[in-house]
Symmetry: C2
Subunit: 131 residues, 2 copies
DNA sequence: GTAAAACCTGACGCGCGTGTGAGGGACAAG
DNA sequence: CTTGTCCCTCACACGCGCGTCAGGTTTTAC
């Protein structure tokens, strides 16, 4: 498939796909005219890349990790890298949970507070059912 | 206290503190000579700001949230904002967990795999004790 | 009074994932 | 062969949190 189809199938912009190739994350065959052609498994690849980006990994780090995910490289160094990134994600989750708890405390207080009892239409809309 | 002291006490750079003020997140009194002076509670304020940045909030969003945290504003809109951000954090945590599970699967496979049994000195160093 | 340290404003730079536009080829349909 | 759509390669721009340098003022310590 060509780049436009991959873009619509994955929901990722054409620009982004070209950027992934530039970063060495997503290989593409080229037609005689220079156009990119992808295999079907590129779709999963793009999802994986997006997942790792969403987890806060940089292109460079993803580039280092992908060979491990593909099980093409399995060295002590690659395993250390995998563990390091997993641990970084763990720390980030911890931070997010702390922030979430902080916000939750504020929410709890504000909803039990005085002006918190003035239920409005806008709130009724944004909160489907407090059943 | 002046900005340098606040910086060392919080571990945040002077540049960052000035940036927080520029974004309206951290107020400071001024001396006759124009230098910033902070109260002790600025320390906690900075920690809070850092926490929210770490949770992926933008300066703008933090600016909107701070009045709620200070319990100075408590409207239906502010509560909706709080919940929206909390939910965003929840979604982000979910994404991170997915990425973590993906990496974990790779790690599990690679450590049980063939070349995973070639223990080297570098691994012995990076892994203190597999006791 | 004088030097050093801390502070001030203003402005440019960076990293990074993308948006966006210019100017031009590739390719299927009529 | 032409038209329309998709694609190509530069290349500039952005947002954002902050580093960093320049040139100057304030405060502190002696």
């Amino acid at each position: 498939m060509r780049i436009g189809e991959l873009a619509t199938k994955t929901g990722v912009s054409v620009r982004a796909l070209r950027y992934y190739e530039e970063q060495g994350l997503l290989a593409a065959a080229r037609s005689s005219g220079g156009q990119r052609h992808y295999l079907d498994d590129a779709i999963d690849r793009v999802y994986l890349i997006q997942m790792l980006y969403a987890a806060g990994l940089s292109s460079r780090t993803i580039l280092d990790l992908l060979p491990c995910v593909d099980a093409k490289v399995n060295t002590p160094q690659s395993r250390a890298l995998l563990r390091a990134e997993r641990d970084r994600i763990d720390r980030q989750i911890t931070q997010l949970r702390q922030a979430r708890e902080r916000l939750d405390a504020v929410i709890e207080f504000s909803e039990s507070s005085a002006s918190g009892c003035t239920r409005t239409d806008s709130e009724a809309l944004s909160t489907p059912a407090t059943v």
